[in-house]
């Protein structure tokens, strides 16, 4: 029972990104502290502000904003109004203004009219900004995927930032983007109204990761769990974290993608694999989670391919090494028949069967048509290409248990050329 509760606790911690970033709350030069300072400044002084949060995907930009706002709204109750926009959904100017109006209405218990025009909405936004400014209420605009707002005429950004030039308003615009050059893309009229504060998010260092792991994985001492279970669990975690193999695994993970979200996903997987009977995490859990992140889907597909499909792949590879500039199913079939003539293989099938196997390969996306559209040609005639490299094919053939020896031989001969 305790094990299940511990699992549920760990999982809810890992699913909540803000929790993980709570580990860096106390440090004064963390992005959290900087952002909190900017916003609280705006709230306390009653001024306008704008800031850009830049960093790769999964580096916890939104999580930090959420965390800062959660703390600030506890600090200044009823003084913050939050408007969230996402570039994926609201990059269209009219749509963005409408969404702002909708959320403002929702926040202030007003009735939102769907029929309102873009002008009405923009006027409404200005009025609300003034009203809120007079009431010393700060409106925070959170623009996720900021770079997508820049793609059009930037009317939304302009009207938003222009409105903030007046003294009566009290608002903060937080732009979040994974494009580091997001501010360079702004139009001149928008850029001049934008305060050039930028917070850069970088992947965590090894020390940061350690802090994160300690923060997330240990069970709390004073908790409803039986104390000896907590002691055992925590001592096990300590031994795992100190293990050399675990650190190697962590390094190989962060070598590929060391962002917070990737590490958290890895931990989530490891925690999910926890054995409920013992209720303790093992090194094996982390190892299998790492294996899962290191999968090579293309190789797996070659490994699963049937013998006939392998023949077609090898034929295609032979055609490519012959430096034919383009080839299609007909030429593959010719090559296939030639192999059969030369080596008298047992796997000789009719054209229709080969065509279906060829279509399977297309479906599995190991091969694809060269031309994008090609609507005026039938499948047999459209030129194709391999989507796997020679070495991948070799490796795949070796791992495929049912691969006939002749194909290996043919491929080995190619590699000598």
């Amino acid at each position: 029972m305790a094990a299940e509760k511990a699992l549920a606790l760990l999982r809810s911690r890992l699913c909540d990104v803000s929790f993980a970033h709570g580990a860096f709350k106390s440090s004064p030069d963390s992005n959290y502290s900087k952002l909190k300072f900017i916003i609280s400044n705006s709230i306390a002084e009653g001024c306008n502000n704008s800031v850009l949060l830049l960093g790769p995907r999964g580096s916890g930009k939104i999580a930090v904003v959420e965390l800062a706002l959660r703390d600030l709204s506890a600090e200044y109750p009823d003084m913050i109004c939050m408007i969230r926009l996402n570039g994926l959904l609201h990059s269209d100017d009219n749509c963005g203004l409408k969404e702002i109006a909708r959320q403002l209405c929702l926040e202030h218990q007003l009735i939102f009219s769907k029929m309102a025009s873009s002008d009405d909405n923009s006027q409404f936004m200005l009025d609300m900004l003034r009203e809120c400014g007079l009431a010393h209420k700060t409106i925070i605009f959170l623009l996720d995927e900021f770079d997508l707002f820049i793609q059009g005429k930037q009317r939304l950004l302009y009207s938003l930032l222009d409105a903030m030039q007046t003294l009566s308003s009290q608002a903060v615009v937080i732009g979040v983007s994974c494009r580091l050059d997001a501010d360079k893309l702004l139009e001149k009229r928008v850029r001049s109204r934008f305060s050039h504060r930028k917070l850069l998010f970088v992947p965590p260092t090894t020390e940061d990761l350690k802090v994160l792991l300690n923060h997330v994985l240990y069970l709390p001492e004073n908790s409803p769990f039986p104390s000896n279970y907590v002691k055992e669990f925590n001592s096990r975690i300590k031994s795992i974290l100190g293990d050399k193999k675990f650190n190697e695994a962590l390094n190989s993970l962060s070598d590929v993608d060391g962002t917070f979200s990737n590490v958290l996903r890895f931990l989530y997987q490891a925690v999910s694999y926890m054995d409920l009977a013992s209720g303790l995490l093992t090194l094996q859990n982390f190892k299998s989670a790492l294996l899962c992140t290191q999968k090579q889907p293309k190789l797996d597909i070659v490994k699963d391919a049937s013998v006939l499909e392998l023949y077609i792949l090898v034929c295609m590879n032979r055609l490519e090494t012959k430096e034919q500039n383009s080839y299609n199913f007909n030429s593959i079939l010719k090559e296939y028949n030639a192999i059969h003539e030369a080596y008298k293989t047992s796997d000789h099938y009719s054209r229709t069967v080969c065509l279906r196997a060829y279509e399977h390969l297309l479906e599995r996306e190991l091969i694809c048509f060269v031309d994008g559209k090609g609507r005026h040609l039938s499948t047999e005639c459209r030129p194709v290409k391999l989507l796997i490299s020679f070495s991948e094919l070799c490796q795949g053939l070796k791992s495929n248990s049912s691969c006939p020896a002749i194909l290996q031989k043919l491929l080995d001969r190619e590699s000598f050329k």
Binding site: C95, S306, S331
Partner: protein, 527 residues
């Protein structure tokens, strides 16, 4: 296990993918949570779940672990694997086992964003389109932004309903989570603006920020197919590999009436078939016919075979095996199926199996002028335009000695190059004028022949005469275009007229020509 579970996995997957999901229609206007989000049947135990999905043990357990215990939040997961590896079946049966509320929508049946959004919202709002509401959806939404707002509202409502249900002890499902399952995610890529829809779906977890919502994506494309779309967050991948031979064996053995007999049959024939494909759905169809053949010598289908009988049965099936292997993907048309079911079923099957040359009849009906048009399209695609004059001179192509000499003069290398060229390029394209000219030539030749020989075989062609055959050629042409026998292949940059291309292969052309007694072989230019 419910009654619909009796059929093997492959059959279940195809026939009941939607049927399993849609609860039996009820007359009441206010559906409750139980028939909205849950399977109507009883809860399935873990053992039944695992035994019902042979070869998927580790995948089932991994998925269960990632979905997690009751009321525990989860990160999005992506279940991926080739076609016919039991992805959908596994996920759906897992929910039957867990007995938790979920919403399933397939991006294949919901063919555009709007339909997909409607489907999710309708299910969440327990809205059923019916005669009374004019088959309207619960909410209208076209834009992704509206969808996210509506989805959030609907989810909050649904979660409140579930919570209320669990408080009042009238609980129908386990826990307070609701899961959204998106099947066939790979189909979205080919949609109009598919990339943005994919990034929307993959980012739903971030956009909603609701820990009570679990997201499961099912895709036959590998995770790296989704890397390109903007704003995508990687879900946790769960790989479903293809079944190996033993697993295919186990699946095909499910729910057999005479397992002993079927297992001897399978152990004799499955291995060679698996060299071609290991997809259960295809093997299932191919082996069905073969098993019928296998059982032919038996009078009692419930017999338990001994060694001697096994050998005898195997000898009986042996000659058919090679032919059957080449017919693995043969999809019989409705007409030929009927014929097969008919009185002389045995002879019909033998004819079908022993090679394509024997099949002389067309499986579909076509008017005589359409057949002529099809043949002339084939000829104009196949033959170079320069040879038209030689082929269709006043003597009607009967003089082919001259042609033969010409082709023998060609050097062998050049011949190879041309053949290679043809393999690569496929059928050539031709302008409408050439098609009509050839059409006129061959119809007039045929009429001439009919007149001379007085063959009353093809009455239509004779009675129709010239006018009948020419009258609606353009109409026939557009019909053939719609049926994909002929395709429009862009316009010629110089002339600006539409060019055409025939897609049929030589076998079909020969079949068509045989059905109207047209000597097609005389006209094909053999290079």
């Amino acid at each position: 296990m419910g009654t619909e579970e009796r059929t093997p996995a492959s059959a279940t997957k195809r026939t009941t993918r939607s049927a399993v999901l849609s609860p039996p229609p009820k007359s009441s206007n206010h559906p409750s949570i139980s028939d909205g989000f849950l399977f109507s049947g009883d809860r399935v135990s873990l053992d039944t779940l695992l035994s019902g999905l042979p070869g998927r043990r580790s995948q089932v357990l991994e998925t269960l672990q990632l979905i997690g215990p009751v009321s525990s939040p989860m990160l999005p997961i992506l279940v991926y694997g080739g076609a016919s590896t039991g992805k959908t079946a596994t996920v759906l049966r897992i929910f039957r086992h867990l007995h938790r509320p979920f919403v399933y929508s397939s991006c294949r049946t919901c063919y555009c964003p709007r339909v997909l959004f409607d489907s999710v919202l309708n299910q969440l709002l327990l809205h059923r389109r019916s005669d009374e509401n004019g088959y309207a959806s619960a909410k209208k939404c076209d834009r992704a932004s509206d969808f996210v707002n509506l989805l959030r509202d609907a989810l909050v409502r649904a979660i409140n309903l579930i919570r209320a249900g669990s408080k009042e002890k009238t609980r129908v499902g386990e826990g307070e989570m609701i899961y959204l399952v998106f099947d066939n995610l790979e189909a979205v890529r080919s949609w109009d603006k598919g990339a943005s829809v994919i990034s929307l779906l993959l980012r739903l977890h971030d956009l909603l920020r609701m820990p009570e919502v679990g997201l499961i994506y099912i895709s036959s494309a590998t995770p790296d197919a989704y890397y390109g779309s903007t704003g995508s967050i990687e879900p946790i991948p769960v790989h479903f590999p293809d079944y190996n031979v033993n697993e295919v064996f186990d699946i095909l053995m499910l729910n057999q009436t005479n397992p002993k007999l079927y297992s001897t049959f399978l152990s004799a024939v499955l291995k060679p078939f698996c060299r071609i494909t290991r997809r259960v759905d295809e093997l299932w169809i191919a082996l069905k016919a073969l098993f019928k053949k296998y059982c032919e010598p038996l009078s009692d289908l419930n017999v338990v075979p001994d060694e001697g009988m096994k050998r005898r049965l195997f000898n009986g099936i042996q000659p058919h095996l090679a032919a059957a292997l080449n017919e693995v993907f043969y999809v019989p048309s409705y007409a030929s199926l009927e014929e097969r079911e008919g009185v002389n079923s045995r002879r019909g099957t033998v004819r079908k199996l022993s090679g394509k040359e024997v099949i002389s009849d067309l499986d579909f009906h076509m008017s005589v002028s359409a057949k002529y048009l099809l043949i002339s399209a084939f000829l104009s695609s196949r033959n170079p335009a320069t040879l038209d004059a030689a082929l269709f001179d006043s003597t009607g192509g009967s003089d082919n000695r001259k042609r033969k000499r010409r082709s023998s003069q060609m050097s062998i290398e050049k011949k190879d190059v041309v053949a290679e060229d043809m393999l690569i390029k496929g059928p050539g394209s031709f302008p409408l004028e050439r098609l009509l000219a050839i059409y006129q030539c061959i119809t007039s030749v045929m009429e001439g022949e009919f007149d001379e020989e007085q063959q009353p075989e093809d009455g239509v062609a004779m009675d129709g005469g010239k006018i009948g055959l020419m009258s609606d050629v353009l109409l026939q042409l557009s019909t053939l275009c719609n049926a994909n026998f002929i395709i429009r292949s862009g316009t010629c940059p110089l002339e600006g007229s539409t060019r055409f291309r025939s897609t049929i292969d030589e076998d079909l052309a020969l079949k068509v020509s045989r059905s109207i007694n047209f000597p097609l072989a005389k006209y094909i230019c053999r290079r």
